[in-house]
Structures are given as C-alpha cells and as structure tokens.
Symmetry: C2
Subunit: 497 residues, 2 copies
C-alpha cells in the first residue's frame, strides 16, 4: 500500500502542475476575448501553442502512464477518491497519448487564427473569410478522430470528448424522436404566440442598468461574486480560471434587456455548477464536470425552467422596474408571455424553447456530414440555408445570421452542439424530479427563492464532479438515463395547455 | 562558426520559450491588479510560484551556461546582435544562477501575499497589517543580496538589478548634491505658488470624459492603441505582455481630472519606450530597457517636460473644454500655473516637480537603512514620519499617506525608488539636448505636435534596447553620464525665473 500512496501522490502533484499552467492558458484565452489589443494576436497564438504543448507533454509522459499502472496494480478501494481519479486519468491518458505533441500545438495555433478570422467573417458576413479556417478545423478533427479511433462514425470520437460513453447513433435516435414531436408543438405554439406583439419589451435599456439587474439575479441564484465576475464579449461564455475564479460573459442589446439577462442566467447556471464542484480536488477529475450535456443541463435549467417559468416575473418585475422605469407599462404576465413567445428565427442563442432544438439538429447534421465527408466546408452555407428553410421556414439572407453565427467551429469544436439539446433533455428530467421531491418549489420560484433548488442540484449533481459519467449520473439523480420524454412533456404542457 | 550559430540559435529558442511563459505570468499579474475576484488569490499565488520557478529553472540550467560558453569561445563580431545578447545573457545568467529555484518560488509567494496585505493595510491605514510582510520582504532581499554578492553595501546588489553598473555610493553622491539645491528652490517656488489657489482646477469631471481626453492625449503622444490599452488600478503602472501588447493603468479623481491625465502621460511615456523597442528581438536583451532610470526618464519627460510645459495647455485647453465645459472658466496660462503649483504634500505620485525628489531621497534612506540593519521594519513609520516632517515640514497623521502609500515594497522591490530621481535627471538631460538639436521643438510642443520629439527618442534611446548600459547610453545620447546639473538648471529656470 505504501507504493500505491506514493504513486498517487506523485500523480496529484503532476496534475496540479498541469492545472496551474492550463489555468494560465485559460486566462490568456479569456483575455483574448475580453481585453487583448489586436496586435497582440500573433504572440498570443505562440503562447497557446507552447503552453498547450507543454501541458500535453506533462500529462502524456511515460511517467504518468507508469504511475497510473502502479496505482491500478495495487488496487484501489472502490468508490474512493483515488479510484475515481485514477479511472478517469487513465481514460484521459489513453485519449491524450494518441495525439502527438506536434499535432496538439498545430491544433492550438489553428484555433487561435480561426477565432480571429471568424470574428472578421461574422462582422462582414463573408463566409469566404472563414472558409479556409473551417476546412483546416475539419481536417484536424478528422485527424483527431483517426488518432483516437472509433467503431462506426469518426464523429463518435469527437462526441466521446464531450459526452463520454455516448455514440452518434444514440444521439441520432434521440433527435429522430424529437424532430417530429417538436414539429407538432411548433405549429400550435406559434399560433398562440401570435397574440403577443414581437416588440412588446422593446425600449431603451442602458447597459449599466442591465448590468446592475443581471448581477442581482445572478446573486439571487447563488452565484458568488467574490469568486467570479461578468465581462462583455461577442459570444457569451463561462470559464473557470482556478478555484474561486469563475468568469461569465454576456453581450448587451440596448433595445431589449432580456437578451443579456437570460444570457447571464444561462452562464450563471454553468457558473453555479463550477462553483459547486469540490474545489479541494481542483485539477483532478473529482473537480471536473460529468459531461457537457450535464453542464448544459444546469445552464438550461436556470435560464429556462427558472428564468422563463411563467411565474418568474412575479418576483422580478418590480425589481426590474427600479432599473427600467418604463417597464411599469407591462405586467408580470405580459413579460412572461413575451419571453416565452414562440417564433422561428435565425439566431440560435435567441431562439425560443420550442425551435431551439431544431437549430441544434441542423448543426449536428452539418457536423456529422463534414466529418463523414458527405459535405465540403465550402458547401456549408448552401446546405445550411436549404435545410434551415425546410425546418424553420425562413430564408437565410446573410451568413452572419446563418452558419457564421456561432463561435464553436472557430474554436476547433465539433461534436459540441448536440450537448446543448442533451442539456435541454437533462434539465427537464432534473426539474421533473426536483418538483416531485419538493412540492413547495413552484411557490419558491415565484418568490425568487432559489436556495432549495440549488441545494438539490449541489447534492445530486455538482458535488460529484466526474465521479459518474452522464448516464450513470442521470440514473442516480432521476431514476433513468437521458430520455426525450420529459422535455417533450414539458414543452407540451407549457406551450399547448 | 557553425557551432557558434547553432549554440546561439539554441539560446534564442530557449529564451523565447522563457518569454512565452513569463508573459503569461505577467498577464496573471495584470489580471490580479485589474479584474481578478478576491477568492482567486491563493491559487494565483501558487501559479506565480510555479511559473516563476519554471522559467527560473529554464534560464539557469547548465545547458544555458554551456551554450553561452560556446558562443563566447567562438568569438562574436563586435557590436553584432549576437554579441550584445550573449553579453547581457551572461550577466543575467550569473545573477540568476546565484538564486536557488526554491528561493525564487518563496520570493514569488511572499510577493503575492504581501501585495494583498498592502492593499488592505493601505485601505485601513494600518501599518501592522503590512508589517510582517515587509519584514519578510526585507529578509528575503538581504538573502538576495548575499546570494548576488556586493562589495560595499548589500543595497548595491539590489541597485544593480534595476540600474546595472550603478553603486549606492554614486546615488548617495548625486542625492547629496540635489538635497540642498532643491531646498533652495523650494522656499521661493512655494512663495510664488501662493498666488495660485490650490482648488483652481477642482470641479466635476466624470470618469468617462477623463478616459476620452486621456486617450486623445496618449494617441497624440504616439501611443498605439491597437497594441495597447488603459485600465483602472489603485496604483498606476505600465506592463508589456508581449510584442503588440502594452498595457497602461491609471486611477481617477472625479474632482480633478489632471491626476489621471498626468498619470496616463507618465505611463504612456513608459509605453512609448516599450512600443519603440525592436519587437523582432522580444525575449532577448536587445528588446529590453537599458535600465529603470532610463525607463523612468521617458515617463518623466512626457509627463513633466511635455505635459507640464508652460505652453502645453495652449493646444489642449480647447480640447479639454469639449470634454469638460466648465474648464472654459480657466485660461491655458491658469491651467499651466495650477499643474505646476509647488507645495509640500504627502503623496509621492501627486508631488510637484520640486518636492518630488525629496520623497525619493526619504525612501532611498529608509531602504538603505533597512538593508544595512540600521532600521527594523516595525520602526519604518516612526522614521518616515520624523524625516518627512524634517524635509517637507508636514506631519504625517495616517500611514496610508505615509509609508503605506506605495506598492513597491509589497512587490518585493527594494532598490527601485532611486531610479525615479535618476529618471528625472536623465529626462532633463535628454530634453536639454533635444532642444539644442531641434530649435523648433518649443513651438511644436505648444501646438501639440510630438512627432519629432518621439522620433529623436526612438533614435537615441528606444531602438537600442539593452545594447548600452545607462551611463553609456547617456554619454552617447547627450555627451555625458547622468548629472544633477541639468535637472537643477531646469528647476531653477522654470520655478525661479
């Protein structure tokens, strides 16, 4: 047992070192999106490549493999922290050692340049500016899939990165159930929404006042601002730069304050998960999220099940009026109707709860086809626009409103989008269960009291880190693996009854 | 010659690697001062210690010593880039290898905690909160001096860090000339200033308007905002995070806009030096400043010789009035008189040009005594307050206005303060020379035209990097080493004639 402990301690030391350097790289990335001056880009790219290569080498060294073997051979007490960390490190080590250090550095460099190109392409709505970068990203992802290996589709290898254990075929099957069922809800929901004027909320909402309200809401949710902050970026995100340092971002529309508000509720949902992970294990799997589909369930739950709950504005309307006096012209019921208006639109992050998953299904199809060589990067706009019109009935006129709207591909991320819809499914499933467990919750939500909800999530989800993979976690927390049923029930109840 | 080139290329590769990691650490430091949430501190300290230790190991490895020896043995073309870099790397290598890696990590950790303690101590004006940290900082600096070695005073070893080639005795001698001479100017300058009301400029100056004006002035000076930015901190600074990434900070007083303005002119003066260093050598001595006394000469020149020039406001008054309409009540002459008002005050960074160096002489004395064990950390406030009153005639009531006002000691920096006065002397010396070279410059300054001045500085100072040590650079640029004469002439001419 002495050998075992020594090997495990050495692993902890090495992975802590990696976490220290990775977190510095994460700050470089946050800074690139928030405050970095443009001429700093080339050197920043060199930094990402170097630090990424350095941590990759540290983790993929033979020494780490030997230490893992030493731990495994000695046997580990079932369910102990050591057992969980060693199991997950082994899985991550296997994936990481299949990628050569040079490939990782090249991938990092490509990402950095692709991100800047995407910003420009989106601003000018010119796909051609981004096209060569997307091509490179797809090629490198195909290479990654080959390095990692897969049984059916190269897309499986990417999905595994974000949703361990899930396969493309399973996602296809879940999405095949959702697509027609959502179609059924959509038509009627749109009809009902016709009574709500699309510009009901429009007005003048100064950024400073939006920031003040958003902060109040995030605080009420339980987000700890002594261990986090909010900045402004083109594309909202949540990133953790170390224990006690979780950073959210959003963007502001001065005509409609609810865009930044729901953006912050979404990102703060992610942030609460991050702040609820056991900080003493920072750098180890026990302080990592179970999967992106679980992570996204937390943001969706707070954004939609809390923030778009029909009674959300009963508590928040008078507070919002303090920041925006012109809101007094509306009632809480009108506000709730406005933020739950269902209508097909171009931008995913502004989509309503009914159409949202259709946006994801399109992206999933594009990504799978790109990876399976059924679609070339240059054909993405045409494919996108045709299928978008088929599914949502709208003609895309500008690529900035179409295939250029999201940052993900410029970050080198394929296999990420489906986790958003998995998040919707998981969120509905958690919410159904917590409402069963806590019959008083509906009342609490209407009074802006979120403590018991957060406690339940901390207990069932946050504190476990990567102890359980997503489907095991869902089973333990809700009694069954991810299903489409609860989300569809929720949509039907909310939008048809 | 083949061996020489290979060794030099390997040195370039290694030092570039160090620069990539150091610059990440510099961003962590900038972030700590600007945006980091408080609960992130412990992990941030661990990051500094780790990254500092890592780069220290990279630079102090035997391999670097061997590569330097290989370059030296092969001989280097006089004045070549290789010759300069190898000479300076050797000097830095000798100093760095004398500090054990463990000591460097300990020093980094101490700095991080000392900085936070200082922030709190200053805010509450409680020296006891900072005292144990100052004690540690002094002890560690004594240890550094022992590791580095010195002939006369342990303070020599610290001074060498910031002002290569200078000795404590030389500084003592320059300061011994200044002290009585400044005393002579002071009495009469204060008398003349009595005609200028101390609150002449006081008014309401919104932060956003100050930021807009400061930016215009920095742009007119030639600061490139595509390669830099301005943020807000308690103590203003300038830091370079890579080629094309120079960041300034300032603080705002809503009652008096000139504090942030002159703060920015000062930091932008540093920034112009940094932006004028040859970026292609980033990470090598050719892209490093000659010394802090040279660096400071640039900030002082722009802040005082340009910004406090009697004719500065002829150009900037109408522009300032666009941002602050209430300034129309004053004339350019009144503004110039107000920002050149001489009166003893507590805060160094708010001191006028006559009293400023007295603040420095006091700090220099305290530091030398701390290092030479003639003063204990706990006795600093008493010593400070007594000598401050002797020199400036004011009684210090709050340590926040006395020995707690500056960030430097909390950063572990001793031996830094005298470089501010060296900067004043060098600035006056440069300015006297450039006015001889360019007779039209006075007129240009009154019209807000700074291109020719910047060109002269780029040519004589910036582009050389660390090719020449400060006294050689002064000799080449002005015809003599640093002297007190030009600064005293300037003060007498400006404040007595």
């Amino acid at each position: 047992m002495a050998t075992e402990s020594a090997a495990y301690r050495k692993l902890l030391k090495r992975t802590r070192e990696i976490a220290l350097v990775s977190a510095a790289s994460d700050l470089l990335s946050w800074d690139l999106d928030t405050y970095m001056p443009p001429k700093a880009l080339a050197f920043r790219a060199e930094q990402f490549a170097h630090l990424g290569g350095h941590t990759h080498k540290l983790f993929t060294s033979r020494k780490v493999g030997d230490l893992l073997s030493a731990c495994e051979q000695n046997g580990l007490a079932a369910d102990s922290a050591e057992a969980v960390n060693v199991r997950e490190w082994r899985r991550l080590y296997q994936r990481a050692t299949r990628l050569p250090a040079r490939f990782v550095e090249k991938f990092q460099r490509t990402r950095t340049h692709a991100r800047e190109a995407w910003k420009e392409a989106r601003q000018r709505s010119q796909f051609k500016v981004f096209k060569p970068h997307l091509q490179k990203v797809v090629e490198l992802n195909r290479q990654r899939a080959e390095y990692w290996g897969y049984s059916e589709s190269p897309y499986d290898a990417l999905l595994e990165e974000h949703e361990p254990g899930m396969r493309t075929a399973q996602v296809r099957s879940l999405f095949a159930e959702l697509r027609p069922a959502i179609g059924e809800v959509l038509g009627k929901a749109v009809e009902r929404s016709a009574a709500v004027p699309p510009d009901l909320i429009e007005g003048n909402y100064p950024v400073a006042a939006q920031q003040a309200l958003n902060r109040k809401v995030a605080e009420a949710m339980g987000f700890d601002f002594a261990a986090g902050r909010i900045d402004t970026t083109t594309h909202p995100f949540c990133t953790t730069l170390g224990p006690g340092d979780c950073r959210l971002t959003t963007r502001y529309n001065e005509r409609n304050f609810t865009q930044s508000l729901y953006g912050i509720m979404h990102e703060a949902g992610h942030g609460l998960y991050e702040q609820g992970l056991p900080a003493e294990h920072f750098g180890s799997p026990l302080c990592m999220a179970a999967s992106l589909g679980i992570h996204e369930s937390q943001s969706r739950l707070w954004e939609n099940h809390v923030g778009r709950h029909p009674r959300f504005w009963e508590h928040w309307h008078p507070i919002a009026c303090e920041h925006f006096p012109e809101l007094k012209r509306l009632t809480p019921t009108q506000l709730a109707a406005a933020v739950n208006r269902v209508t097909p639109s171009f931008i995913r992050v502004e989509a309503d709860q009914v159409t949202y998953d259709l946006h994801i299904i399109l992206r999933f199809e594009v990504e799978v086809k790109l990876m399976e060589k059924q679609l070339a990067a240059g054909d993405v706009p045409a494919y996108w626009n045709e299928n978008f019109q088929n599914m949502l009935g709208l003609k895309v006129e500008r690529d900035a409103d179409g295939c250029l709207q999201d940052i993900h591909w410029s970050l080198g991320e394929l296999g990420y989008f489906p986790t958003y819809t998995l998040g919707n499914l998981n969120a509905a499933q958690f919410m159904e269960r917590v409402l069963q467990d806590q019959p008083g919750l509906e009342g609490e939500l209407s009074r802006g009291e979120y403590g018991n909800l957060l406690k339940w999530l901390r207990e069932r989800v946050h504190r476990h880190g990567l102890r359980y993979h997503s489907q095991d976690l869902m089973q333990k927390a809700t009694g069954e693996p991810t299903s489409g049923k609860h989300h569809l029930d929720y949509l039907r109840k909310k939008f048809l009854q």
